[in-house]
């Protein structure tokens, strides 16, 4: 029942926020309280994982019909991602705190949180898919209603593009289910027992369908072009959740559905997957170098960073899988923080171009400090979180295929080539005349607190990832080849 509460609670909260007139006026408070309570719920559930005596928390599935069963389960990986989700939702809500927004805005985030929780917890592919798709609707509204100039186009593009992927995902799921029925005569949608055939065109196509289905969300090159637009147009809070949480579900799908379903045959495809990921890394990084819009740049950097996640899990070694999973969390924190800060800048100046700023350090030293730390976390400076994930992912991939790992290492390097110049241009460069770049006030206490909340975990994970690895480890243990 507790697991149902995880996804249902935010959605009920959202409904309250949206529909109860008495609550409507205090929507932001209601939503914040719900989000914080949800965060508490998740933390509470995690005590077992911390202490290490709990491998997973699951509810007995209720068989419904046609093999569809209502079953949820939480292991270390799910827990970590749920925590990330709950945490970033709180951050995202607080990041827009001062803006004058209607109840729908606050409710959308709760909806989104609930849907993502569902994805992370569902064990039944039917429900997995439903939650997967349910994420689209609130995000569509977040981008389309509260985004910047070109928001409508971006929202539609986001929806259509990701729905395109979802159709393939649906075909992939059907392929697994139907194959299982053909071999055993039993209908089942349980992602823990569904297996694809070991060879043949059927398996290849099913695999490809999953790669496309999950790949759109990650996003994998070349089906990534929705992401820069969506990020650029989304409001800051939306970008935080989009990058911090929504991109994660694709990789999570790889970990939870794709890899277990193709135990033997998948082995052959792994180098291909790794190659795709390596392309992602390089492509995202090189493209980011050319961007002149901060949000667009960070969006492309997300493409590159998610490439490392896939790189790690495609290796299916202990360190690769752990690194890939860790990188999910890391990317959520760092990119979340980056988008948060760009959001602060945008809130102050309504600009986000690299050329629109300069010498911000003299006006906003604190912002510069936080941005700097986050940039270095993002380019994988050891001691900060980014390095641990990338290093483990790459060392996993090196075990499987050294050339791909080499490409990945180049990607690590290029990360500095786009983030640092951007950082310099905005925070250190020539001061722009006041007509171009209005005065920027430094962070207030709320904003500082939010950033500390994001940055402290960066240091903690960077220097002491042990506890997190212990939590995630058992969950991915069975995927190791």
């Amino acid at each position: 029942m507790i697991l149902t509460l995880f996804w249902a609670f935010p959605i009920i909260g959202a409904l309250f926020t949206l529909f109860a007139p008495a609550f409507n006026a205090r929507a932001r408070w209601i939503s914040l309280i719900c989000a914080v309570m949800e965060l508490y719920l998740v933390l509470q559930a995690g005590t077992g994982f911390w202490s290490g005596h709990l491998a997973s928390l699951s509810e007995p599935g209720k068989f419904l019909t046609y093999g569809i069963s209502y079953s949820f389960s939480m292991d270390g990986l799910s827990w970590a991602l749920c925590l990330l989700n709950a945490f970033l939702t709180v951050i995202a809500l607080l990041s827009s705190w001062k803006q004058d927004l209607s109840a729908g805005f606050w409710a959308s985030f709760l909806f989104l949180e609930g849907a993502v929780m569902g994805v992370f917890l569902a064990q039944d592919l039917f429900f997995f898919y439903i939650f997967w798709e349910a994420m689209l609707i609130p995000m569509f509204f977040i981008i389309g209603l509260w985004g910047s100039e070109n928001r409508k186009h971006a929202a539609i593009k986001f929806f259509l593009f990701t729905f395109f992927g979802s159709l393939f995902l649906l075909l992939g799921i059907l392929a697994l289910v139907v194959f299982h029925h053909q071999t055993t005569g039993v209908w089942s949608w349980d992602m823990n027992i569904l297996r694809a055939p070991n060879h043949g065109l059927y398996a290849i196509l099913a695999f490809a369908a999953f790669v496309v289905g999950f790949g759109v969300k990650i996003p994998l090159v070349p089906i990534h072009t929705w992401l820069p637009d969506a990020h650029t147009e989304a409001p800051a809070a939306g970008s935080i959740i989009l990058a911090g949480v929504l991109l994660k579900v694709g990789v999570y799908g790889f970990l939870r559905v794709l890899l277990p379903a193709f135990p033997d045959w998948g082995m052959k495809a792994l180098p291909w997957l790794g190659g795709l990921a390596a392309i992602n890394v390089i492509y995202g990084a090189l493209s980011a170098m050319a961007q002149m819009d901060l949000k667009r740049l960070i969006a492309y950097s997300s493409i590159a960073h998610l490439g490392f996640c896939v790189l790690g899990i495609a290796s299916r070694t202990a360190q690769g899988l752990a690194g890939g999973s860790l990188q999910l969390i890391n990317h959520g924190l760092t990119t979340g923080a980056l988008f948060l800060m760009v959001g602060f800048l945008y809130e102050r100046t309504h600009k986000r171009g690299l050329a629109d700023f300069g010498d911000l350090v003299s006006q906003a030293p604190l912002l510069t400090f936080f941005f700097g730390v986050t940039v270095f976390a993002s380019i994988g400076l050891p001691g900060l979180n980014g390095f641990v994930g990338e290093f483990m992912s790459l060392s996993g991939m090196a075990k499987v295929s050294l050339p791909i790992a080499v490409v990945g290492v180049f990607g690590v390097t290029i990360a500095a080539f786009y983030l640092l110049p951007a950082f310099q241009a905005v925070f250190l460069g020539e001061r722009k005349p006041a007509s171009v770049s209005p005065k920027v006030f430094d962070l207030d206490l709320r904003e500082q607190a939010l950033l500390w909340l994001l940055i402290i975990p960066m240091f903690v994970i960077g220097l002491h990832p042990g506890p997190l690895l212990n939590i995630v480890g058992p969950a991915i243990g069975k995927l190791i080849l």
Binding site: K157, Y283, F376, G383, M392, A416, F417, L420, P465
Partner: protein, 619 residues
């Protein structure tokens, strides 16, 4: 497995100084920022001394108390290894670094960003300490990168200047290229051996006779060292790094940053020495670097730039020595170089300070001997040390390397001659131009003033080192060789040897003479040739084409990214995707034009559909 208190001090003191500084001083009392840092340097210095004493007495510490990335059998630990090499480096870093801290307290006095400077400065110091005591490659990589980070922060300290920003980026990016090498070396190493074997003490005894994977590791480590220690062709960032304040340059050239590459190679020598052709390549690259940048140093006008190329040159000498197998001599040179180069830089800082400028060119100096005599004396001592004149420190270490080069004969001895000559030439050219004269082309300052005790006292101690550390070669060898992990023991640092002494001293004397003639005797020759043969001067300015090449490469990357990120990804590929809506609209128009609204047409369609249904039956 106990961790000595001194080791804990090594980390706790700087970290707490940094935290205290950031959280308590930065806002309220930035002008006090140097005190916790200097205090921490003192603590670290004492700890380093006690560690060195312990190591000297043969007590090696190698513990891994803390797991960094634990994952069952795949685990990476934090640990410390205190053997000869790291104790030596610790001494150098803490001594020279600490003194430069004090100096910087005076030098940066009036800078508005005093607090920020010391935070970054101390972070630099901390990173280097972490690097030298690391007991495995992954941890070393951590601090290796942190060294890069803090150098970035410091080179770009005066971020208001575009050149400083560019130099900082260039330094970071170039080091990043080296990091590829380090990273790849790590990956390969972890592929070949169990992960726990990234620990030096476990790895080196395991090394077989040059497996191919190990040779890759060696080459990649060398790549890392090339970038970090500014070897040819990745040296160009270092002269540009002069954009930072002078104490930064001093620290970077003498004790921290660039020595890290040499340290890495010395540390990995048991591995590198097994790789075929690698030692010779290192020697060749080192020699090339030394000669190449020595020549360029002889043509520069900016004082700090001369010194920077001189550092590149000396790093080349160290690599040269390493490549020849003289690990102990190379690190000895590293040690002595730390002193005399720090001294030279601080003297240059004194000059700049006297001129109230961030940096000084030889056009603006001349005849400073009388105006700032203390600095002049310090400079002379350091210059003799650098030229390798007996009995200054530089002589002992450099002569050991040159001796090995002469023993090798052939190209190595030619390089040795050239190096001995060039170092003396460029440093004395600088000395003459700065302190003698002034020549009529120079515009010396009217009223320069000597630096205060906050600067000169630490400088004095450093100069003392530049004078005398060479006398303790035997003790140094004893220290460095304790805990050596190589299969064969370290080569001894040779003592005083007449034959090599004659050769190298005569070359140095020749260099000094040439420098005198070049600058003082023939009127204004240092300026004349520039006017006469501008093409050659341009060649020197462009480092014989290395700088344009770097520029072209940068441009290439920019163009490539524009091509991919804008032209292809946004305009073309995403354009196609966006265009699907236009295609869909066209399709929609044609599909919907089928519904003409004419009744007979729709009846025709019914017939057609029926026809298809029936035709289907035929097959």
């Amino acid at each position: 497995m106990g961790i000595p208190v001194s080791v804990i001090c090594l980390f706790v003191a700087p970290v707490s100084a940094l935290l205290f500084g950031y959280f308590f001083l930065l806002k309220r009392k930035p002008q006090w920022m140097h005190w916790p840092m200097i205090l921490s340097c003192a603590v670290v210095g004492v700890a380093a001394a006690s560690i060195a004493a312990q190591v000297y007495s043969g007590h090696i510490v190698d513990v891994s108390p803390f797991k960094w990335m634990p994952l069952g059998s795949w685990s990476i630990s934090f640990g410390v290894r205190l053997d000869g090499l790291s104790a030596m480096m610790l001494c150098l870093v803490s001594l020279v670094g600490g003194l430069i801290h004090v100096y910087a307290g005076g030098y940066m006095e009036n800078d508005p960003a005093f607090g920020r400077f010391f935070l970054a400065f101390h972070l630099f110091y901390l990173s280097m300490i972490g690097l030298v005591v690391a007991n495995n490659y992954v941890q070393m990589y951590l601090f290796w990168e942190m060294v890069g980070l803090s150098s970035y922060l410091l080179i770009g300290f005066w971020y208001q200047k575009a050149s400083a920003r560019r130099a900082a980026l260039q330094a970071f990016f170039t080091n990043r290229i080296g990091d590829i090498g380090f990273f790849l070396a790590l990956l390969i190493l972890m592929n070949v051996y169990p992960v726990a074997q990234t620990r030096f003490s476990a790895l080196f005894p395991l090394l077989g006779q040059g497996s191919p994977a190990i040779s890759y590791v060696g080459w990649f480590l060398f790549l890392a060292a090339i970038a970090k220690s500014a070897q040819f062709p990745l040296y160009f960032w270092l002269p540009d790094a002069m954009e930072g304040p002078t104490p930064v340059s001093a620290l970077m050239h003498a004790a921290t940053m660039v020595t890290a590459g040499i340290f890495l190679m010395a540390r990995s020598w048991p591995l590198i020495s097994l790789v075929p052709h690698l030692p010779n390549t290192i020697a060749a690259v080192g020699a090339l670097t030394a000669v190449f940048s020595g020549i360029i140093a002889a043509t520069r006008k900016d004082l700090k730039r001369i010194l920077a190329y001189s550092t590149v040159s000396h790093l080349g000498i160290m690599a040269f020595g390493l490549g020849l197998g003289e690990v102990s001599s190379a690190v000895f040179h590293l040690f002595t170089h730390g002193f005399f180069k720090a001294a030279l830089f601080l003297c240059a800082g004194n000059i700049a300070h006297a001129l109230h400028k961030p940096t000084a060119s030889v056009d603006e100096t001349g005849g400073l001997l009388k105006k700032i005599p203390v600095t002049a004396v310090f400079f002379v001592v350091a210059a003799f040390s650098l030229s390798g004149i007996w009995p200054f420190a530089g002589f002992y270490s450099k002569d050991a390397i040159l001796g090995a080069a002469f023993d090798r004969g052939g190209w190595a001895s030619v390089a040795g001659f050239a190096i001995a000559f060039l170092s003396a030439f460029y440093i004395f050219r600088m000395l003459f131009l700065a302190f003698l004269g002034p020549r009529k082309e120079q515009n010396p300052p009217e009223h320069p003033h000597e630096a205060g005790p906050m600067m000169n006292v630490p400088l004095f101690f450093i100069v003392l080192g530049a004078l005398g550390v060479g006398w303790f070669g035997a003790q140094f060898y004893h220290l460095v060789s304790s805990g050596w992990l190589g299969a064969s023991p370290m080569v001894k640092i040779p003592g005083f040897d007449w034959s090599s002494f004659t050769r190298s001293t005569s070359m140095a004397a020749l260099g000094i003479l040439a420098a005198y003639l070049w600058t003082m005797q023939w009127p204004s020759f240092d300026w004349v040739w520039r006017k006469k043969i501008p093409k050659v001067e341009k060649g020197f300015d462009a480092d014989f084409g290395v700088k344009p090449l770097v520029g072209a490469l940068t441009l290439f990357f920019e163009e490539l990214s524009y091509l991919l990120g804008i032209l292809w990804d946004k305009k073309t590929w995403d354009g196609w995707i966006e265009n699907t809506s236009a295609w869909a609209e066209d399709a929609a128009k044609s599909v919907s034009s089928l519904a003409s609204g004419r009744l007979n047409d729709s009846l025709w369609w019914i017939l057609l559909g029926g026809g298809v249904m029936l035709l289907r039956l035929l097959r």
